[in-house]
């Protein structure tokens, strides 16, 4: 058991009424132990039903487990309690984005950005939604702009069935299409994501041609932080790359910026060394693109 988890578990056992369940559930979530995270979060939520953070964290875990309906309800509950809750707006923004409701996605993401103006991933997401929503800007921005009005909107929940879990890269925005323009694999095999596992650009498809970008990105949330921590503990300095040789293909991760991760995937015929060179070229393109959209 990880030391953090052990310490937090002990603390929670000593004082079951404390708010340490939030930290424990978050650590478990980041470690990918979603069942355990959900148990801890649900238990804490039962004890603190009026705590917006508990609803938001519970929702985030549900979202990562693929329960879009549950996540939507959780984030809406958080906003009922705390209309300006940043994580809830962010989560709802991404749910609406995935559901194709760009107007609502933009409104929620912009509320989230008000509380986190330095979040490059969020800014890039807003830019992406803005460009995608450009044909109908009036509609996208219509309606109230107060947080309370967002909470009060009679929005249909973006159900799991309605959420296209993978957004077709073929319908990507012009801004996004510039990201890896001219690079081999620009439309399949290069994926830029933020540290929260949000796809910022690029796409990845499986052997059946299905877009798996969002699913893969979600699994890689926090990977940069873990890699950095491991490298530090080992005295290896800053982490530079993470290579993964697999049975049916190879993957290479680098961090174009401190807040982003770039995944490059190729079949097994591409040697790991060459994959690293491809990844470095794509990382340079990603840095240029991030500077433009910032």
């Amino acid at each position: 058991m990880n030391d953090d988890v052990r310490a937090l578990t002990s603390e929670l056992a000593r004082d079951p009424g404390s708010l340490v369940f939030l930290d424990l559930a978050e650590v478990l979530r980041r470690r990918g132990q979603l069942d355990a995270a959900l148990t801890v979060a649900a238990s804490g939520l039962a004890r603190y039903p009026a705590l917006a953070d508990a609803h938001a964290l519970h929702a985030r875990i549900l979202a990562e487990r693929g329960d879009g309906d549950g996540a939507f309800d959780g984030w809406m509950n958080a906003l009922q309690l705390e209309p300006a809750h940043q994580a809830a707006h962010r989560g709802l923004g991404f749910l609406y984005y995935r559901a194709g409701d760009l107007a609502r996605a933009l409104r929620h993401l912009e509320f989230a950005a008000q509380a986190a103006p330095e979040d490059a991933g969020l800014r890039a997401a807003i830019e992406r939604v803005r460009v995608a929503a450009a044909p109908a800007p009036a509609e996208a921005l219509a309606g109230g702009t107060a947080a309370g009005e967002v909470v009060a909107e009679a929005a249909p929940a973006p159900t799991s069935r309605a959420i296209p879990f993978a957004i077709d890269s073929g319908s990507g925005t012009s801004s996004e299409s510039e990201l890896f323009a001219g690079l081999d694999g620009a439309r399949d095999g290069l994926l830029l994501l933020d540290q929260h596992g949000l796809r910022l650009g690029g796409a990845l498809r499986n052997e059946d041609g299905a877009d798996v970008s969002d699913a893969v990105a979600a699994h890689l949330a926090g990977v940069s932080r873990e890699a950095a921590r491991a490298a530090r503990l080992l005295g290896l300095g800053e982490w530079q790359s993470l290579g993964v040789e697999c049975e049916d293909g190879n993957a290479h991760l680098v961090a174009p910026t401190a807040e982003t991760v770039l995944l490059t995937v190729r079949d097994v015929s591409v040697p790991a060394g060459r994959l690293g060179l491809v990844a470095e070229r794509a990382a340079q393109a990603a840095r240029r693109w991030l500077e433009r959209v910032a």
Partner: protein
């Protein structure tokens, strides 16, 4: 000496390798280690297992199959991890001078012997 200990010693004997360990993949606990000096073996085991688990899930989602070798490269060295079946992970840490090709082969051999 157990087969695992022998395998870890072979990995540790590669030029530049600072140490090697056998880790329980599901919970990140150290099972056996060789020459892991100056590093917190328990923390490394936990982080390596967590990273490997995350990458295994991502690779599965991407349709890449199971990871066979994981390589974390830092400014001054490298962490190598090779799954040995579903439950174990053979991990090695090397400095900048490590013969990574040989270390990788020894790790794969160790994983085959241990799994």
């Amino acid at each position: 000496m157990s087969g695992a200990d022998h395998a870890l010693r072979r990995v540790s004997a590669v030029r530049g390798v600072r140490g090697a360990m056998l880790v329980s993949a599901p919970d990140g606990l150290v099972i056996s280690e060789s020459s892991m000096e100056d590093v917190d073996g328990r923390a490394i085991a936990a982080l390596a297992a967590s990273l490997a688990g995350r990458l295994r899930r991502a690779a599965a989602s991407a349709g890449l199959g199971r990871p066979t070798v994981i390589q974390l490269r830092g400014e001054t060295g490298t962490l190598l991890a090779v799954p040995a079946g579903d439950e174990l992970l053979v991990v090695a840490v090397g400095d900048r001078e490590t013969n990574l090709g040989l270390a990788r082969l020894e790790l794969l051999e160790a994983a085959r012997g241990i799994a």
